[in-house]
């Protein structure tokens, strides 16, 4: 047998083999019996209103070109392309009477199967060949041309990355030649402001006139015009995406309070405010915050955790699979960029309503269902293939996301403490490892710094990419080993802005010289500026000392990763880039990094006027019906169909997974992971998120505190220590040059700062994604808080599934009569602008719960969030397959913390519903479904009742019992009075809280007798069987 070196397995070189008469082209179609696509397409077509499609045959088409004999083609089929058990194959064109649609990737779009086929031919020692793939749909039935058009446009192909044709498509192999490299001057001299603005718009630079003037001034002083590469480099370096100018700007906020007072405040940088809030906490377990690709915090004595959450909104709107796919790839590279081994992923997805009428879909927008399906597939594809468990996240459906879906991708990594080198030196080689460079992703940074509209959608094709996770997986293996062997001085990922951004930032204090002719390309013909700015995926840039290059090269060969040496860092303070003999860029580093004029921005914000609920009486709804509707709401219902398409078990360290209970269908609050390599101790890490955009509509300040609280509840519920929580922020807002968008952003940042103080939790990393607008309408302003916690003992965790009939149920925290921003208000159309007050002193309750979990006294715990306590209790019952009986408090009014008057959100007296025709009904609704923060439900053993009561004291109250009846019975304590008056000291007043004022203390452990439950038929009583709740919640079929 021939012994191969690693090199021999690489793809054949890209030189044009020339016009050779003996070359032949072959077309091979393969169809797999029972392929799920053949079922999916007719179903999806029917959803689009194309009901005449009776049968779909799905083929994969392989185009080959090379010096191939017929025997060679047959051999490729037999050895590689055709599974003899399931597949049929046709060489040439298949016979069909059906209508044919073929879809192929656009030239330059990643075609993984074609590349693997070329490599497989090399394994078989066949002559070099070029391959391209396509999908072929044979559609039978009663279909007219319009039907085919709908199917092509909305189901079978996405023109952003694919071409499609009714009939056979000719193959498009990667181009093999292109124009000679050139860097062309762009005339700036003498342009007036209008012309500068026009130039910025035309070239999609996303720079404003002041910024264009700064560039003009620089080049006037040099006595020349910039090259295209220089101008594009500056646009990238100065883009919102790369430099976060809004978060660094000086902002004047005109803030109208609810009482009409106008307050004007000045803000010296939002980013600074977050940094200061973190610094003030002086947490000694922080390792690196806000300065690198990811935040780094201590895990144990030897290892640190790296965390990062990114957004990939615009690309996901245009090409959901590719956008989300590369979103995962990008955030994982951020983790690699701090020398950490990625160990887990998270994802939070915000889409328009699933059932949006096609007629209501704006032009240029994909339907939310299609976006969701593509995004979910894209996330699963990348995370699963990297071998990373996707363990935590959220999915939201709101009308405010129709034109602008949000895709948040998070990643967690592990690295030995102090192992991440961050100081490149003059003389270090600039090494690129990973994927090749193509025209893909040109201008992604500037593209994401502008709003979307139908025209941008049409132009932005090259800004969207398809990932190649296997290449990135190779980078993971190489970087971990290179780090351990000390082979590099600095590392960063090649993300937005491509090499321009990576090399420019890494060499900011040094200088750099690059020859772009050394950059390996996917296909020839790229201009220097395109190579320099390409955002081709899966590339990392390292500063490697001379003597590290050879060992790094060997490592790369072992792990099948391409390496190229593209230049060196210098001490010149200049960025010098050429392509062979063609000079492209010569810029001072200080212009790139310090030349951007600081923005001065104006912001306005008005607090919601805390008017009581007006008019609009609540609908007549039975408690059981309300609970079932809430459970079935898209924002509550089971996420199994999405989450199970992600591998949440790989790496063998998932302690708390997305689902819990005997049938694994109860939703959990957070993930707990035990990283490989740390099995010698019991400490684990927990991941959770908080996100409450509906609150933000009313009060973005409160949204921030809510989101932080939700993340804390979730972490605490699974056993994480509330005194060791690191936070990450992700702001997705509209155009910050519009004062109202900016005003709400400033308020949200202020909320984050306040939250860091109240929860004593530092922010360690964050990202803002602005300009999320479609056709001038801003996205539903959304703050995602991600949180990383430490679980001291992986054997002491809790999940939401009830475990034991006869156990006690406790409610920690108190509800609110305010329904503003709640799911139930949305569901029932209740008009309430009042938001429940954020928790003023949250840590005592979370410490108490953590303590109880640590002592092994909590058998289940669940946070109260969307849908309120009724949903929380039902989810616990569903997961545990047990019944419960609980008496929950009547909704009380919010209490204003005297120390927090300035930020009070709600009025202090009256629930606002006195005038309503149906106070009892509203009271019941509020009790069952209010979403006041700070609440958890606990299940504790009967025998622990005294100990639990003692530890919780006034922070919680016993509300019921787990039963074996299979019924969820929830009683709302009778109208207006305190619900638990039968077994605890009475509530003092409508506006006071017996809980927060220490009313019941440890004495709550009184009686909750069966006799106290009112008879069935009481309007304040909800009785639903667990099985009915399960069906409403949408659990998959039970085993």
């Amino acid at each position: 047998m021939k012994v191969r070196g690693a090199e021999s397995r690489r793809a054949p070189a890209l030189e044009d083999p020339g016009a050779d008469e003996s070359r032949r082209a072959a077309r091979i179609q393969v169809r797999s019996a029972g392929h799920p696509e053949e079922r999916r397409i007719p179903e999806a077509a029917a959803q689009l209103g194309v009901t005449g499609l009776s049968d779909c045959r799905f083929w994969t088409v392989y185009h080959l070109e090379g010096l191939l004999s017929e025997a060679d083609v047959a051999r490729l089929c037999a050895e590689v392309l055709v599974d003899p058990v399931t597949d049929e194959v046709v060489v040439g064109l298949p016979d069909t009477t059906a209508q044919v649609v073929e879809v192929a990737p656009l030239a330059g779009v990643t075609d993984g199967a074609a590349r693997e086929l070329e490599r497989a031919a090399a394994v078989l020692e066949l002559p070099p060949l070029r391959a391209a793939t396509a999908r072929r749909y044979e559609l039978a039935g009663d279909l007219d041309e319009a039907d085919i058009g709908i199917l092509m446009a909305r189901l079978l192909a996405n023109p952003t990355i694919e071409r499609s044709h009714s009939g056979e498509l000719a193959p498009s192999f990667s181009p093999t030649w292109g124009a000679a490299p050139a860097a062309l001057p762009v005339e700036l001299t003498g342009l007036d402001d209008g012309q500068l603005a026009e130039l910025s718009r035309q070239r999609m630079l996303s720079l404003d006139v002041i910024e264009m003037q700064a560039i003009q001034t620089h080049f006037v002083s040099c006595g020349r015009d910039p090259t295209d590469a220089e101008l594009e480099t500056l646009a990238q370096a100065w883009s919102e995406h790369c430099v976060h100018k809004t978060f660094k700007a000086r902002i004047t906020l005109s803030h109208t309070r609810a009482d009409g007072r106008l307050e004007v405040s000045h803000h010296d940088g939002l980013l600074n405010a977050l940094r200061r809030a973190t610094a003030e906490l002086e947490a000694d377990w922080l390792r690196s915050v806000f300065v690198d690709n990811a935040g780094i915090v201590a895990f144990d004595d030897d290892l640190d955790l790296a965390v990062k959450v990114e957004t990939h909104n615009h690309p996901s709107a245009l090409e959901p699979f590719g956008g989300a796919n590369t979103g995962v790839g990008g955030v994982v590279r951020d983790i690699l960029g701090v020398s950490a081994r990625p160990i887990a992923c998270t994802d939070v997805l915000c889409f328009g309503p699933e059932d949006l009428d096609e007629a209501d879909l704006p032009a240029g927008v994909l339907h939310p269902r299609r976006i969701r399906d593509g995004v979910v597939a894209g996330i699963g594809d990348y995370g699963n293939k990297l071998g990373l468990p996707t363990v935590n996240g959220a999915v939201l459906y709101e009308p405010g996301y129709v034109g602008n879906p949000l895709v948040f991708c998070g990643a967690l990594g592990l690295l030995p403490a102090g192992s991440h080198p961050t100081a490149p030196r003059a003389g270090d080689r600039i090494i690129v490892i990973g994927g090749r460079t193509g025209r893909d992703g040109i201008g992604g940074a500037t593209f994401s710094s502008a709003g979307l509209d139908a025209a941008v959608v049409g132009r932005a094709g090259s800004a969207v990419q398809i990932g190649d996770p296997i290449v990135e997986k190779g980078c993971i293996e190489v970087i971990e080993r290179a780090r351990d062997r000390g082979l590099y001085h600095a590392i960063t990922d090649c993300g937005a802005g491509g090499l321009s951004s990576a090399v420019g930032e890494m060499g900011a204090d040094l200088g750099a010289e690059v020859d772009l002719a050394t950059v390996p390309l996917k296909y020839p013909g790229l201009q220097p500026w395109e190579i320099w700015l390409s955002e081709a995926q899966e590339r990392m840039v390292l500063a490697v000392p001379e003597d590290g290059v050879a060992p790094l090269r060997t490592l790369c060969q072992t792990w099948d990763v391409e390496l190229s040496d593209i230049g060196s860092f210098t001490s010149s303070g200049r960025l010098v880039v050429r392509h062979g003999a063609c000079d492209a860029i010569d810029l001072p580093m200080e212009l790139l990094h310090d030349g951007l004029p600081r923005q001065e921005l104006a912001a306005t914000h008005s607090d919601p006027i805390a008017a009581p609920g007006r008019g609009c009486p609540p609908p007549v709804i039975d408690g059981a019906e309300l609970l079932l509707e809430l459970l079935a709401h898209p924002n509550v219902a089971s996420r199994e169909s999405i989450v199970r398409s992600y591998d949440h078990e790989v790496r063998g360290g998932t302690v708390v997974r997305p689902f819990t209970g005997p049938s694994a269908d109860g939703p959990t609050d957070a993930a707990v992971l035990k990283p490989l390599g740390t099995w010698h101790h019991d400490r684990a890490v927990a991941l959770a998120v908080g996100i409450n955009p509906r609150i933000g509509v009313l009060d973005p300040w409160a949204m921030a505190l809510y989101a932080i609280d939700e993340a804390f509840r979730n972490l605490t519920a699974v056993g994480a220590d509330p005194d060791r929580v690191a936070l990450l922020d992700n702001f997705c807002w509209g155009d910050p040059t519009k004062p109202d968008r900016l005003g709400s952003l400033v308020r949200a940042v202020q909320g984050c700062v306040e939250g860091a103080r109240r929860y004593r939790a530092p922010f360690v990393s964050g990202k803002d994604s602005l300009y999320n607008e479609f056709d001038g309408r801003a996205v539903l302003a959304t703050l995602l808080i991600s949180a990383v916690g430490i679980v001291p003992d992986l054997h002491r965790v809790a999940t939401s599934a009830l475990t034991t009939a006869g156990s006690d149920l406790w409610l920690v925290g108190q509800g609110s009569g305010s329904l503003g921003g709640s799911l139930v208000a949305d569901l029932l159309g209740l008009d309430d602008a009042r938001v429940p007050a954020p928790v003023s002193d949250p840590l005592p309750r979370y410490r108490a719960v953590h303590d109880l979990i640590g002592r092994g006294l909590v058998s289940a715990a669940h946070d109260v969030s969307d849908g309120g306590i009724a949903v929380a209790l039902a989810e616990m019952a569903i997961g545990g397959q047990l019944g419960l009986t609980a008496t929950i408090p009547h909704a009380v009014n919010d209490v204003t913390d005297p120390g927090d008057l300035d930020e009070a959100l709600v009025e202090t007296a009256g629930n606002g519903y006195e005038a309503s025709a149906a106070p009892d009904r509203l009271g019941m609704i509020a009790a069952l479904a209010n979403e006041a923060p700070g609440r958890l439900v606990l299940e504790t053993p009967f025998a622990a009742r005294g100990a639990v009561a003692e530890r919780l004291g006034p922070l919680g109250r016993r509300i019921g019992t787990v039963t074996g009846t299979g019924e969820i019975e929830v009683r709302v304590a009778a109208g207006g009075a305190d619900p638990l008056s039968g077994f605890q000291p009475r509530i003092e007043s409508r506006t006071g809280s017996s809980l927060e004022r220490g009313g019941n203390g440890g004495r709550v452990a009184g009686d909750l007798r069966d006799g106290s439950v009112p008879p069935t038929g009481d309007p304040n009583r909800v009785t639903v069987s667990v099985e009915t709740a399960r069906r409403a919640f949408g659990c998959q079929e039970r085993l």
């Binding site: 799920p36 058990v85 997986k473």
Partner: protein, 254 residues
């Protein structure tokens, strides 16, 4: 006792190699992860067992495990066959199973692993039974026992070229693992009977794993390496760990 060296080949895209190595080490073996690019045919004689781990070798771009199957056949086919002939155990998990099946190392290609009936990747815990009558010598003493562990795959539906094949495989005692109904104890009647999600992918006759005609080569879709200690289990009583499988595997390598 000596720790037999166990080869764990790593192709680009392999990803459950570390867990597999952990399971082998816990069972008393000496796992050695070797990138396929560094692997030489002559090196096979240095090992007492081969474990092909899970993942997405080469991105599964030409069908799950297809390209790795080609390499196993083209580069190491002789060595692997000789390995099995001499009774040294070969275990393929998930992508490793797919590659073994498609390489022909699990016998002539009368069965394959096709796209899940549900049409998408599926991650969930399942209960397996080690088939009592399976001819695999090294699995033998596990016969009738159960293993709880996760599946995580998009192409795990065991499919056959014609219905008669199942009877043939059964007759040849080559069916090594079956999916059981949840909570069952491994009784003959406790198979999933094709019902989702106990049978998570629509595999014919609930078949989760196979062995080759010699019994030395065994493959299965689920991941016993992800259940080697109790805290990895999501719920239910302790026991039914995947460790037993690795103990048998390493024992056979001694």
């Amino acid at each position: 006792m000596s720790r037999p060296p166990v080869l764990i080949p790593h192709a680009p895209g392999t990803n459950r190699d570390t867990e597999a190595a952990l399971a082998v080490a816990a069972a008393g073996g000496d796992p050695q992860i070797v990138p396929v690019g560094d692997l030489r045919p002559a090196a096979f004689s240095d090992y007492a067992a081969v474990l092909l781990p899970g993942g997405f070798s080469y991105g599964d771009a030409l069908g799950a495990g297809g390209r790795l199957a080609l390499e196993l056949r083209a580069w190491f086919g002789l060595e692997l066959r000789e390995f099995a002939r001499s009774g040294k155990p070969i275990l393929g998990i998930c992508n490793g199973f797919q590659a073994l099946a498609k390489s022909g190392l699990l016998g002539p290609r009368s069965f394959t692993l096709a796209a899940n009936a549900g049409g998408r990747f599926e991650c969930r815990w399942v209960t397996l039974r080690v088939e009592p009558g399976c001819r695999s010598g090294w699995l033998g003493r596990l016969g009738g026992s159960t293993i709880r562990c996760p599946v995580a795959h998009g192409e795990g539906r065991l499919a056959v070229s014609d219905p008669g094949v199942v009877a043939e495989l059964e007759q040849a005692r080559r069916i090594a693992f079956r999916y059981l109904a949840s909570g069952s104890t491994g009784g003959v009647a406790d198979v999933a009977a094709g019902a989702y999600p106990a049978n998570p992918n629509g595999s014919v006759n609930d078949i989760a794993g196979m062995c080759d005609p010699t019994g030395a080569v065994v493959g299965l879709m689920p991941h016993p390496e992800d259940h080697i200690v109790d805290w990895q289990r999501p719920s239910g009583p302790p026991g039914s760990r995947g460790s037993a499988l690795f103990e048998a595997f390493v024992a056979a390598a001694r």
